[in-house]
């Protein structure tokens, strides 16, 4: 990484002091541990780690952007597995609000052999709370078996009441799996567990370990170049733009976790030669498990922006030796003209533009260099649900003085944006509209703002185009009414 710039540490420190001064004392004390600046190691340029407290309960009564464990399990890890039916077990809302919202692209006949963009729920009523929902759940599973016979399994995604009223969904799962000779996975991802989506990811990973692995006699011939892609949810087709590269360098992707995945892909995973993990936060648990139990090594990679894609392809290829390395170099070379055409086209329009990020679990660091590949600078970044090891990894990516905010509240983010006035903010749908009202360009970096893919070289071209169209849109020049704008009035008066 050769792109050099500095952020204004003093100014950022003052911003932090300013927002904290607005809180009641108790909340200010708690929030102060989550706001910080990236600082350099003494001996070099690389920032060592970003020291903030993370993965701690949100302060009540402030606008946290976080979701819950159910969102982590159903919304992220399990939901995209396309040939299983995922039951939102509990009241109707959780399933309804998460229905079709993450753009986990897939190919399949929805409602027949594929079920991702459907909302299956046990629609708990008061009587289910009072008498328990296990009987109802059994019936729900029977009805799924009858109406959706080509589904290859069922998961039970627990909403808050399930744990509170003490339902035994594990017993139901065991009973019904036997009866219907299918996979039934109970997932204890009630929304109140943990402090964010993060625990939901972990619980979902554990459910794969305990209820999927080693449960069937798998007929599959493993090959020397078999990899699993772990932690790519195929948002806008990300996993496809990644898969095409991995196949081009000679690897065989046996499982895609979990965008566009089938249960079979998950079941065969323990036979692969290497696990490639993109979203470390949501899936490191299962990668570690596969390493311990099956001896499969795992490797992190980053497919955002050409410099990371190049580097990642080389790292991956190195694991497999000269044959794959040679192919990787060819693939990198093949895409260089595209990369440089993209940079040529956008560099002038984007270089020096300052970006603030606030996303979930990998993008706050992974996309940093994709922006820098276009000459853009990251002034602030933070995680909704990152842990200490995420912030540690962030240190490798960000520059000195970068504002770091963990579980940032709506109030803090707004004040930071007002103070810094960046050229672009990348965050989620809840943040999009307030930021745009302020006259600041915005891109949704969970959903790619309904565009994408952003992964891979094909995705990098789209990423660059989208950032340009956001920043250089004529609409930002129309915010001031001319009769309120002294500069224009003076020109008209001539």
């Amino acid at each position: 990484m050769t792109f050099k710039y500095h952020n204004d540490s003093d100014f950022h420190a003052k911003l932090i002091a300013d927002v904290l001064s607005q809180y009641p004392d108790k909340a200010a004390k708690r929030r102060s541990k989550h706001l910080s600046l990236a600082t350099s190691e003494k001996d070099g340029n690389a920032t060592s780690e970003c020291e903030v407290k993370s993965n701690i309960k949100s302060v009540p009564g402030v606008m946290t952007i976080r979701g819950c464990a159910y969102a982590g399990s159903k919304g992220v890890v399990w939901g995209p597995i396309k040939d299983m039916v995922h039951i939102s077990h509990g009241p109707v809302g959780c399933g309804q609000y998460s229905w079709s919202q993450r753009r986990n692209y897939y190919v399949g006949l929805t409602g027949i052999d594929t079920f991702v963009t459907m909302q299956f729920t046990s629609d708990f009523q008061e009587k289910d709370i009072v008498f328990g929902g296990d009987k109802k759940l059994e019936k729900v599973i029977d009805e799924i078996a009858e109406l959706f016979p080509l589904s290859n399994g069922i998961t039970l995604q627990s909403e808050c009441p399930i744990g509170l009223i003490g339902d035994d969904i594990e017993a139901v799962a065991r009973k019904k799996a036997k009866e219907h000779a299918t996979t039934v996975v109970p997932v204890r991802c009630e929304g109140f567990r943990g402090v964010s989506q993060s625990l939901g990811h972990h619980i979902a990973n554990d459910a794969i370990r305990d209820w999927v692995f080693d449960k069937k006699d798998i007929k599959f011939d493993p090959g020397p170049y078999d990899v699993n892609v772990i932690g790519d949810y195929n948002i806008g087709g990300d996993a496809w733009a990644s898969r095409i590269l991995l196949e081009e360098i000679g690897l065989r992707v046996v499982g895609n976790w979990s965008g566009d995945a089938t249960l079979a892909e998950v079941e065969r995973a323990p036979r692969a030669a290497l696990n490639l993990i993109h979203c470390y936060r949501s899936m490191n648990y299962i990668s570690r498990h596969m390493e311990e139990k099956y001896g499969i090594p795992w490797m992190e990679y980053n497919f955002f922006g050409h410099s990371q894609i190049d580097a990642s392809l080389r790292n991956i290829a190195e694991h497999f030796g000269p044959e794959i390395q040679e192919k990787a170099e060819k693939v990198i070379a093949k895409y260089q003209p595209l990369v440089w055409a993209v940079i040529d086209k956008y560099w002038q329009r984007l270089s020096g533009k300052r970006v603030m990020l606030y996303v979930g679990g990998l993008r706050p660091r992974h996309v940093v260099t994709a922006y820098e590949d276009l000459g853009m600078e990251i002034v602030g970044t933070g995680y909704e649900f990152g842990h200490g090891d995420d912030y540690q990894r962030t240190g490798h990516y960000v520059k000195d003085g970068t504002l770091i905010y963990d579980d940032v509240t709506g109030y803090e983010l707004e004040k930071f944006i007002e103070g810094i006035r960046p050229d672009l903010v990348g965050s989620g749908v809840k943040e999009k509209y307030p930021v745009q009202k302020m006259g600041i360009p915005f891109r949704q970096m969970h959903s790619w703002d309904y565009s994408g893919p952003y992964h891979g070289y094909d995705g990098f071209a789209i990423f660059a185009r989208d950032m340009d169209m956001a920043i250089n849109n004529p609409v930002w020049g129309l915010y001031d009414a001319p009769w309120k704008n002294d500069r224009i009035l003076a020109a008209v008066a001539g």
Partner: protein
């Protein structure tokens, strides 16, 4: 390599390129372990059959693609309709992220809501501490005039008592003693978002009206809009009509400005909404008029209990429903309906007459909230259309009776069927076995449009995949024009699509219709 900097392909064209088609075909064949194609296509055909329909409609426990959301969403929407009011949801924080996203995706607007962020310890010990700290933080940070508290299923299951908790928080100084903290218990496992709306509006009225004696009635009409994804266009249109009538009125719960704030460089966390002083004064109104019955049952009971006359409508769409609404307002306010409004009415009738041939005899499936389905079915019958399937997942047997009465009132309702409690997967079977010409509902209907080929007109909440519809009114005679045009556009677009095959079907690809 299909991608280029000059003509950047995003997902829609990119994955149609041969490289990607090949890759996906290989993935399916080698790694997905799919069912044989024949098995899949047989099952697909089976789902279109009467036999499948019978199994599907006989479901007792499983709900698939329901057209309803949970109570707290309604409460959050309701709170957004009051001046400088922060919505505070007592429970697990993930719910709030969902409500905010859901509203933002529909309105393309900010949605500001806080949570008490309850976790495992609160599940064990109760959420009092979260309420005490949370109210203090909300009050200090967001400078609201009022904090409207509702609950999630978590808080309800563990039995947190909002009234007691809020009193406790006030005693501990979280907010001043006289600061307004109305509340509503809104368990997600009871009713749906329309009930949450009802409970929150009632909670706000009780907060201000309880213990206050009603003085002599003022010649003013209270209007409660109900949960309405088109509140921006509808509320403004109704205000225009009321101003034309020179009526003194007060909207109780008006989220129109909150979900349509201007872009001029400032983020307004709060904008518009019913003023708190006006809510207080509304106690003395002549009467309260609700635009949606099922959204306001408890609230209207309460209004009657304090001595107000009440009337409720069922999402007044089209000619006669608007007539009735204006006449009711005229009655309560003793103001005449001015000539300009009669002319507007005439213009809608003119438009309906001009287009009648394209609408007569068309069959429709309509789904959504009970009031919406009622109002839309009524309008469809005015155009000579036949509401063949009327479905409300949150519809009750009382709604079913009302619908049947409405449908019996017109020859166009003769063959209509009413489906309370059914979901959109059930509607899929209905559309395959008893097809219709048009489907009216929200964005979730696009899956039905794809599977059954029934063209979808998006006319109710939520609309995620089309922009700005909510900014235009559906109510009033102007709204009627919008309804009419939306339906006609769909008919004409569809006709064009079917007839545009050059040299094959384009004899009907007419320029003038």
């Amino acid at each position: 390599m299909p991608q280029s900097a000059e003509k950047t392909l995003d997902h829609a064209p990119l994955f149609c390129e041969p490289e990607y088609r090949k890759m996906l075909a290989k993935k399916k064949l080698k790694f997905e372990c799919p069912h044989p194609d024949q098995v899949v296509s047989d099952q697909r055909e089976f789902t279109k059959s009467w036999e499948y329909r019978e199994k599907n409609l006989a479901r007792q426990a499983l709900v698939v693609n329901p057209a309803k959301a949970c109570q707290p969403l309604g409460a959050v929407f309701a709170a957004a309709g009051f001046e400088r009011t922060m919505s505070f949801v007592h429970g697990s924080q993930g719910c709030v992220a969902y409500y905010r996203s859901h509203l933002s995706r529909h309105f393309k607007e900010p949605s500001s809501v806080v949570s008490s962020s309850m976790t495992e310890d609160a599940a064990v010990f109760g959420g009092l501490k979260n309420m005490v700290d949370g109210l203090a933080n909300t009050y200090k940070l967001y400078n609201p005039k009022m904090i409207a508290v509702s609950t999630t299923c978590m808080a309800e299951v563990i039995g947190d008592d909002l009234h007691g908790f809020i009193e406790n928080a006030k005693s501990e100084g979280s907010v001043p003693r006289d600061f307004d903290v109305p509340f509503a218990h809104t368990p997600a496992f009871v009713g749906s978002h329309v009930d949450g709306y009802d409970s929150m509006v009632k909670g706000v009225l009780e907060n201000f009206w309880k213990g206050t004696a009603r003085s002599e009635a003022t010649a003013s009409v209270n209007i409660i809009p109900g949960f309405d994804g088109f509140c921006v266009g509808n509320n403004r249109e109704l205000k225009r009509l009321l101003d034309l009538m020179q009526v003194t009125y007060m909207f109780i719960q008006d989220a129109s400005d909150q979900f349509d704030t201007p872009s001029d460089g400032n983020f307004r966390m709060y904008d518009g909404g019913t003023k708190i002083n006006d809510v207080k004064a509304a106690l003395n109104a002549e009467g309260t008029l609700s635009l949606q019955y099922y959204n306001t049952r408890k609230t209207l009971d309460y209004c009657r209990a304090v001595g107000q006359a009440t009337t409720s409508f069922r999402y007044p769409l089209g000619v006669e429903a608007t007539d009735e609404l204006l006449m009711a307002i005229s009655d309560i306010s003793t103001r005449e309906i001015p000539e300009v409004i009669r002319l507007e009415r005439g213009r809608l009738i003119d438009a309906m007459a001009d287009s009648q041939a394209w609408l007569y005899g068309k069959k429709y499936a309509i789904y959504g909230d009970p009031d919406f389905v009622y109002g839309m079915a009524r309008f469809i019958m005015e155009t000579g259309g036949e509401p063949t399937h009327c479905l409300a997942t949150n519809g009750t047997s009382a709604w079913e009776d009302e619908m049947k009465e409405l449908l019996a009132s017109s020859p166009f309702g003769k063959n209509a069927q009413v489906w309370p409690g059914k979901d959109l997967w059930a509607l899929r079977s209905l559309l395959f076995t008893e097809p219709v010409d048009l489907l009216i509902g929200n964005s979730y209907g696009k899956y039905l449009e794809r599977d059954t080929g029934t063209p979808l007109v998006r006319l109710t909440f939520p609309i995620f995949d089309r922009h700005h519809h909510h900014r235009f009114p559906l109510m009033g005679y102007q709204g009627g024009l919008r309804l009419l045009t939306a339906i006609l556009d769909k008919i004409f677009d569809n006709l064009d699509r079917e007839t545009m095959h050059a040299g094959v079907t384009d004899y009907s690809y007419d320029l003038t219709r």
